[in-house]
């Protein structure tokens, strides 16, 4: 055989090899998919162990103006507010104690509303709210897709919004965690550029787009964030009349837009020409706008609205408020303040930045309230702040506190309560218990009676380590839960031999030099291992429940971070403010702060995997049914072993057929798992981590699952604008 012939033969062979493997390559790359169609010092005594009602420490409000006596810094326009404030000057508000140091201001629309479920929200085929329903069960009665046929699931359409940025140009990077809503025979999507897009659910074709021309600046967050839109409709919509159905989207600069759900035209009757400037109520410590990243909760013609800020830069920050607005007019019904008036010159936040849940029958709104500012030092706020880092139930009509449970006393770990509590009736000891299941960053799952706030499974006050920082007084006890089992183990996972080897012993050396005395070890000057740290535990996605069986599923993280306080005189801010790592000034308190994820020089986690799990519990008994590493870590494109799991952000959805749909992992996969065993039954590659909740709905007799694929820089520097919908093949 001549050399020429051999060269020809090898070329042909290589082409043949490539051709033979092309389908596999294409499948991995997703190129065989259909064409594309288109975010008190608390002493710990007597708190947390029992619920506290309105009588438990009411403070007298000032009763003047906005109800605060704190110094106002709003003369400097950090807020971006541009609405005419005089429009609201005539609106009288009255301030009343709401219980536990909280206050409520009643606005001009106070008294309107009512109780009882909204009929339009009750249709089983829809996915009408951020969590699918007001009770945050994240449960769909759809049963067309089953464990047996889920392997046949196919992508039916894909849509790209165009609203994406990797931060390389003028617009900050996008973090898109929206839940799509399916209601009114339309799929509604909010984008991180704060546009609303209405899609035809079966094909992904655009129906209309609303663009508010929002400011695309990272005013309070390091990224452009959005977690979707909210939908409201009148009990009896009038045919041919505009704005009988409204879709709402909030912006980073505190604007809340309301547009007609059928046309995408702004609703002039809502606020000022279709927009409510929520920043008009940002009158205390107004250092930045009240970012509206989480869509409102809608109930009985009322919008319940929290906000997001940044509690790592300042000590005195805007204090936590929840707004109740009239869904038609945008007028204020009431405004709830979580912090006592006495402290707001020195602290702030304790806000509700995550989704809320609501019991439509009882008319109770459940608030996951975050930690006060600054995050990691509490010497400036040694007073009791009973609603900070709590789950609090308030009356939907008045905003008054029905009960509250503080989950962390004197929070100096940034253990914001971030997930909407899941409301479900469970059968326990022969009785039906109206339960509330609250996941947490600190890794406990609190199961409480949602009517009274009392324990369903015991919550015990236990001693915790003291702070060795001058000026700091950590709470001597914290609430602990043994049942259900915490989502992370009591001890930190220990040094990972491989990472230590790569670091030539650097991981173990560092671990020996920092403080660790178990859960709630306070931040220190030498550095403290935080496990779980601010990343959780469980994150804002929370858990989902099958209300028929009481099986509760939650995805979780096992991350180790190091908290180091730095005396003010030594503190030098280095780099940008971030969310998970970096240096934080913490305003004018005596200490700055450094937050580090415990990595070696090569970027490998220094702690033992797995880094994330998905786990299932039986709420009837509190028993953990199964727990598996979930997802895969991806670094430089390399996937680490499945047994290592992945850090997860986002949440699961359960269907009546016994499936769990979830994105959430670093490896850019969306998956379907067996509810019974946790086994992965189906997965597909998407363009970035799907850090959101999927929507499961039925349209024209066909069940669909839609994922928003936006990425999250906490997980991976990978972003996307993909909306992808799956269904079973049609016969």
């Amino acid at each position: 055989m001549t050399k020429t012939r051999l060269i020809a033969l090898s070329t042909v062979a290589s082409l043949a090899l490539t051709a033979a493997m092309a389908p596999a390559l294409a499948q991995e790359a997703g190129t065989d998919q259909p064409p594309i169609a288109g975010e008190p010092e608390d002493t710990g005594q007597g708190q947390g162990g029992t619920p506290s009602g309105p009588e438990g420490g009411a403070d007298e409000p000032s009763g003047e103006g906005a109800g605060f006596t704190g110094e106002t810094e709003s003369s400097i326009d950090h807020t971006g507010a541009d609405a005419d404030p005089s429009r609201y000057e005539t609106e009288a508000t009255t301030t009343e104690p709401a219980g536990m140091g909280a206050t409520v201001e009643s606005g001009p629309a106070a008294g309107a509303g009512g109780r009882g479920p909204d009929a339009w929200m009750e249709t089983p085929d829809s996915w009408a709210t951020f969590n699918g329903d007001l009770m945050a069960q994240k449960y769909s009665p759809a049963d067309q897709i089953t464990p047996e046929n889920v392997g046949n699931l196919e992508k039916v359409w894909e849509y790209h919004t165009g609203d994406v940025s990797d931060g390389s140009e003028d617009i900050p990077t996008t973090v898109w965690s929206a839940t799509p809503l399916f209601v009114n025979d339309t799929l509604y999507i909010g984008t991180p550029f704060y546009r609303i897009i209405a899609l035809e659910p079966a094909t992904g074709e655009e129906k209309w787009v609303f663009d508010p021309d929002a400011r695309l600046e990272a005013l309070t967050q390091p990224a452009m964030k959005n977690r979707g839109v909210a939908y409201w409709q009148a009990d009896e919509p009038q045919e041919g009349e505009a704005c009988q159905k409204i879709v709402y989207i909030g912006t980073m600069d505190a604007k809340l837009y309301g547009v007609d759900a059928d046309t995408g035209e702004t609703c002039d009757g809502f606020g000022d020409g279709g927009v409510v400037d929520v920043n008009q109520w940002n009158t205390v410590n107004a250092k930045w706008p009240l970012s509206l990243l989480q869509p409102p909760t809608v109930y009985n013609d009322t919008l319940f609205l929290g906000w997001a800020g940044k509690d790592w830069t300042d000590s005195a920050a805007p204090p936590g408020t929840v707004f109740a607005l009239d869904a038609r007019s945008g007028e204020l019904k009431w405004m709830f303040h979580a912090l006592p008036n006495e402290v707001i010159e020195r602290t702030g936040t304790a806000n509700v930045w995550a989704s809320m849940s609501l019991d439509p029958e009882r008319g109770l709104l459940y608030l996951p309230i975050s930690s006060p500012s600054p995050n990691y030092y509490g010497g400036n706020r040694l007073e009791e702040l009973p609603l900070a880092t709590s789950v609090t139930a308030v009356d939907t009509e008045t905003g008054e506190v029905a009960w509250s449970r503080q989950l962390v006393h004197h929070d100096i770990w940034d253990y914001d309560t971030v997930a909407p509590p899941t409301l479900v009736d469970i059968e326990k000891d022969g009785e039906t218990v109206p339960a509330l299941v609250q996941t947490s960053k600190q890794g406990f799952i609190y199961v409480l009676n949602r009517e009274t706030g009392e324990d369903v499974y015991p919550v015990e006050e236990r001693p915790v380590p003291a702070s060795d920082i001058e000026g700091e007084e950590a709470s001597p006890t914290q609430p602990f839960v043994d049942t259900p089992a915490p989502v992370v183990d009591d001890d930190w996972p220990g040094v990972f031999w491989l990472a230590d080897l790569v670091a030539f012993g650097g991981c173990s050396e560092r671990a020996e030099g920092v403080r660790w005395e178990g859960r709630f070890t306070p931040p220190s000057l030498e550095g403290t291992i935080a496990y779980p740290p601010t990343t959780g535990g469980a994150q804002w996605g929370g858990g989902s429940v099958d209300p028929r069986t009481g099986i509760y599923v939650v995805n979780t993280n096992s991350v180790v971070q190091i908290y180091t306080l730095i005396p003010r005189e030594e503190f030098q801010e280095e780099g940008q403010e971030g969310e998970t790592a970096g240096f934080y000034a913490q305003g004018d308190v005596p200490y700055g702060f450094q937050l580090e994820t415990f990595l070696n020089w090569a970027g490998m986690p220094c702690w033992n995997p797995p880094y994330g799990h998905i786990q299932a519990y039986d709420l009837k008994t509190g028993e953990r049914l199964w727990r598996h590493p979930f997802g895969q870590v991806q670094r430089y494109g390399f996937y680490m072993p499945e047994s290592w799991g992945s850090v997860t952000i986002g949440g699961p959805v359960i269907t009546a057929s016994g499936l769990i749909f979830i994105g959430a992992s670093m490896d850019s996969r969306v998956r379907a798992l067996s509810l019974e065993t946790g086994e992965v039954l189906w997965q597909d590659l998407v363009e970035a981590p799907a850090v959101s909740l999927p929507a499961v709905y039925t349209y024209q007799g066909r069940q669909y699952v839609t994922f928003i694929v936006g990425g999250n820089t906490i997980l991976l520097p990978k972003v996307s604008d993909q909306v992808v919908t799956y269904a079973l093949p049609q016969d």
């Binding site: 055989m1 050399k3 051999l6 060269i7 033969l9 090898s10 070329t11 062979a13 290589s14 082409l15 090899l17 490539t18 493997m21 596999a24 390559l25 991995e28 790359a29 997703g30 190129t31 991806q634 430089y636 494109g637 390399f638 996937y639 680490m640 490896d667 850019s668 590659l685 363009e687």
Partner: protein, 133 residues
């Protein structure tokens, strides 16, 4: 073994060349085809380079039959390390096609080692070199 020297086709080398061409194509596909979960990452750039080096090594084997023994031996060892390293990278990239091609290249390398005419072969060319010396 010496009786086969210089006779017949050097199938191992040519199959290695074919495999390395396909591997380079696959690596390029993984590297530049956005949406596969690994495109434009350090890992795919790494396998792009390693498969290019593999191809270069295979071409040297096909072009230069009468290499010094030390050179051909070193080259053969480097090719083996390249195959194994690329296979490991492909495994962790979940790049199954590339992993399969590395398996193919490994078989070709073994074929070359044990079945190719001596002048193509690493070990026997070294032996011939010793004899002629």
């Amino acid at each position: 073994m010496a009786s086969r020297a210089g006779s017949g086709a050097a199938w191992g080398v040519w199959l290695l060349l074919a495999g390395s061409i396909a591997a380079l194509a696959a690596a390029a596909f993984y590297t530049f085809n956005d949406g596969n979960g690994i495109a434009f990452t350090g890992g795919t750039y790494l396998v792009l380079v390693s498969t290019a080096l593999l191809l270069a090594g295979a071409m040297i084997l096909t072009q230069y039959r009468d290499m010094p023994g030390w050179f051909s031996g070193t080259l053969g060892l480097l090719i083996l390390l390249d195959i194994l390293g690329t296979a490991a990278a492909a495994y962790f990239l979940l790049a199954w096609v590339l992993l399969g091609l590395m398996g193919f290249c490994l078989l070709a390398w073994l074929l070359h080692l044990f079945a190719d005419p001596a002048r193509y072969r690493v070990l026997e060319s070294r032996a011939i070199e010793r004899k002629t010396a």
